[in-house]
């Protein structure tokens, strides 16, 4: 408490001396013990492991004596499993939860119970749609911007004359993917530049390789005119590219009649970028997302900041961030990380740390 006071006094002194600083930027005080749990949608997905790396980096910087727990459900038991982990976290005496929600509003009662029990609850990657049970959401990118990026990539691949595309998403209840798709549809409808892009259907591969692969095959069978699959999921993207490649629709020795774009991890799709199945895709850094999430949660749990709009804080190497109202959800608060990186054959080698072949 004393330290917080000192900080406040220091900060207000700063504010007095410099007119330019309008609000206080809170800096975390390292070394406080907070038992924190990072809960991904499920285990066994590379992007979540990267987020964990970022969180561990932040934990080391903040010298939190309590080890970070990284635990998630199995993919086929994601909803019930996440609810179980949140419920048991209260019993275990966990003090702060960081949830990438895969259960839609179904997790809200369990998350609210955790909040009521005095835990700090922050969501990242995918929020609780109703914002019930969550203090703040750490958004990777602006959801509307994601829609724009997806639409732009589709346009740049299909060109002015346009074409037909389908969306291969994760689970129907994944709040992040749903919001991106909705934003993309809005962009497509609002601007005549996209008038020639026709969305045929949306299918769900539940972030499982096999299921996504089969869904992609189903798409090609059902829509012979299909030109492009947009996969806003790091699992669906490579699975769809593999399906198209196996069908001889893209890759070496083909005319790349059907290709894939979306949100993917460079290291997982290098081969498909090389053979033309994925001409272009986008993503943000999951390491940074885990890092930023840890900072926000630590600051909230130690009482250094409150979850209120306008609160500003420093997140280590990533700089200053602000808590704002979430424009994509009523009653929700968010911290926006941003920005996007667009990858193609030009820059993917650098992204995966390889030399480009001659």
């Amino acid at each position: 408490m004393k330290k917080v006071l000192v900080l406040l006094i220091l900060a207000s002194l700063l504010a007095m001396t410099s007119v330019a600083i309008a609000r206080d930027v809170v800096v975390a005080e390292p070394g406080q013990e907070v038992r924190m749990l990072l809960l991904p949608k499920f285990l066994g997905i590379l992007v979540f492991d990267e987020a964990n790396q970022g969180a561990l980096e932040a934990a080391a910087e903040l010298e939190n004596p309590a080890p970070l727990i990284f635990d998630g459900p199995t993919p086929e038991n994601s909803v019930a499993g996440q609810i179980e982990i949140v419920t048991n976290a209260v019993t275990q005496g966990i003090q702060a939860l960081m949830i990438s929600n895969n259960a839609g509003d179904q997790i809200a009662p369990a998350a609210q119970a955790a909040l009521d029990a005095g835990l700090t609850v922050v969501t990242w990657d995918s929020p609780i749609p109703s914002a019930v049970g969550e203090q703040v959401f750490v958004a990777q990118v602006d959801f509307n911007e994601t829609g724009k990026v997806l639409a732009d990539m589709a346009l740049s691949i299909l060109g002015e004359e346009g074409g037909q595309f389908a969306i291969l998403s994760a689970s129907p209840d994944a709040a992040n993917q749903n919001a991106w798709i909705a934003a993309m549809q809005e962009v497509l409808a609002s601007d005549p530049a996209y008038a020639n892009l026709e969305l045929l259907t949306i299918v769900y591969g539940n972030d499982q390789s096999e299921e996504s692969y089969n869904q992609a095959l189903g798409l090609v069978d059902a829509y012979p005119e299909l030109d492009l699959i947009v996969a806003p999921t790091s699992v669906g993207g490579p699975a769809a590219a593999k399906a198209l490649q196996d069908e001889g629709l893209c890759g070496e020795g083909t005319d790349n009649s059907v290709v894939v774009t979306g949100l993917m991890l460079p290291s997982e799709v290098l081969a498909y970028v090389e053979n033309g199945c994925i001409p272009e895709f986008a993503l943000w850094s999951f390491v940074d997302l885990g890092y930023l999430t840890y900072y926000v949660t630590y600051l909230l749990a130690t009482g250094a900041i409150e979850a209120e709009p306008g609160v500003m804080f420093e997140a280590g190497r990533m700089g200053t961030y602000e808590i704002t109202e979430d424009p994509t959800r009523e009653n929700g608060l968010r911290v926006l990380m941003g920005p996007f990186s667009i990858y193609n054959i030009e820059n993917i080698y650098a992204a995966v740390g390889m030399e480009a072949p001659e």
Binding site: D71, T74, E76, E84, T87, N88, T91, A108
Partner: protein, 333 residues
């Protein structure tokens, strides 16, 4: 017969020992385990499965299986949610959802009991079909925002610190135990399960018993589906997806023979306690879901192997005795 009864007793004793072992291990591993709330949570987190395990016990002892229960749970929840979404009062939706469960059960029962098709095939079709209805009802949407009183039934205590689900489970378990072990209907269930032909000749109304069991199974599954809707506060097409295997696991671990005719509800009750406590203990020390599934899988394999080994050893000993008796006779001559 006496030996069979002893065998059962031994199996339940073994389960009881495993249960005590699990509890002691949990106490040693995690101080949070003994938290009173934890015992409520432990049941709450699997409450829908253990309710359906009670009717599943009857079905399997009867020599059948019902793989469609999880799909019926999802279907009932989706029907209720959809009706609520289009403006039907929730009370009416609940009644219709329960009726849909009974109807689905009757449909299963018709093909199994009247037409005589194997329940494995019939209810496997049900698993796909009823899930299909659930998905058509909600089409990839998620419906929530039910009235507070409904959600409270799934989340808040109604009796002391017990939730509605736990109260339902306790009542169903006690009523089920009385019917199965103390009534004529219960004896018919066993008789049909151990030898259907003999039961028919003995005048047991096999069709009626089987029909009753499948309708009860469908209705209880629908009730469990509504409970999960209340607990989660929202429903989607894949609600309760895959629960049937966990439910069958509980029943088999409880010592119920997959071929029918033997097993007790007490054994299933113990198996439920073992699985829930084992899972809970592992969760509390952050053992991941994959490992939990593995441990329970090993437990199930052992539960199938141990009785068979026991029987093999018994047979071997009996043969040895017979042989030595014959040798002794030969010696007299």
């Amino acid at each position: 017969m006496q030996r069979a009864i002893n065998g059962l007793k031994r199996w339940e004793t073994l389960l009881f020992i495993i249960f005590i072992g699990t509890v002691l291990n949990n106490v040693a591993q995690s101080p949070a385990y003994l938290n009173p709330n934890n015992f409520i949570n432990l049941f709450q987190l699997s409450i829908e499965k253990i309710i359906v395990a009670i009717t599943m016990t009857f079905i399997i002892i009867n020599g059948e299986i019902d793989l469609s229960v999880a799909s019926i749970m999802g279907m009932a929840a989706c029907i209720m949610a959809r009706l609520y979404d289009v403006g039907v009062p929730l009370e009416t939706g609940i009644v219709i959802a329960l009726a849909s469960g009974a109807l689905a059960g009757a449909f299963n029962g018709f093909w199994v009991a009247v037409v005589g098709l194997p329940s494995l095939a019939v209810t496997l079709a049900g698993l796909v079909g009823y899930r299909g209805i659930a998905r058509i009802m909600l089409e990839d949407r998620s419906i929530g925002g039910f009235p507070g009183w409904f959600n409270a039934f799934g989340q808040q205590p109604v009796l002391g610190s017990l939730t509605l689900g736990i109260v339902v489970f306790i009542i169903l378990f006690l009523v089920g135990a009385i019917i199965l072990h103390r009534s004529a209907f219960g004896r018919y269930v066993y008789a049909i399960g151990s030898n259907k032909e003999a039961a028919i000749y003995a005048g047991v109304r096999v069709q009626r018993v089987k029909m009753t069991l499948f309708i009860a199974s469908g209705m209880v599954a629908a009730l469990a589906g509504l409970l999960i809707a209340a607990r989660f506060g929202a429903v989607r097409g894949n609600t309760a997806d895959g629960f049937e295997l966990d439910i069958v696991t509980m029943v088999l671990l409880g010592g119920v023979s997959i071929f029918g005719g033997s097993g007790t509800l007490v054994g299933v009750g113990l198996a439920i306690l073992i699985i829930l406590n084992l899972r809970n203990g592992m969760s509390l020390i952050n053992i991941t879901g994959n490992t939990q599934t593995l441990v329970i899988g090993v437990l199930l394999i052992l539960s199938v192997l141990i009785p068979n080994w026991g029987r093999a050893v018994q047979t071997w000993i009996m043969r040895q005795r017979l042989r030595s008796a014959e040798l002794a006779k030969g010696g007299e001559r």
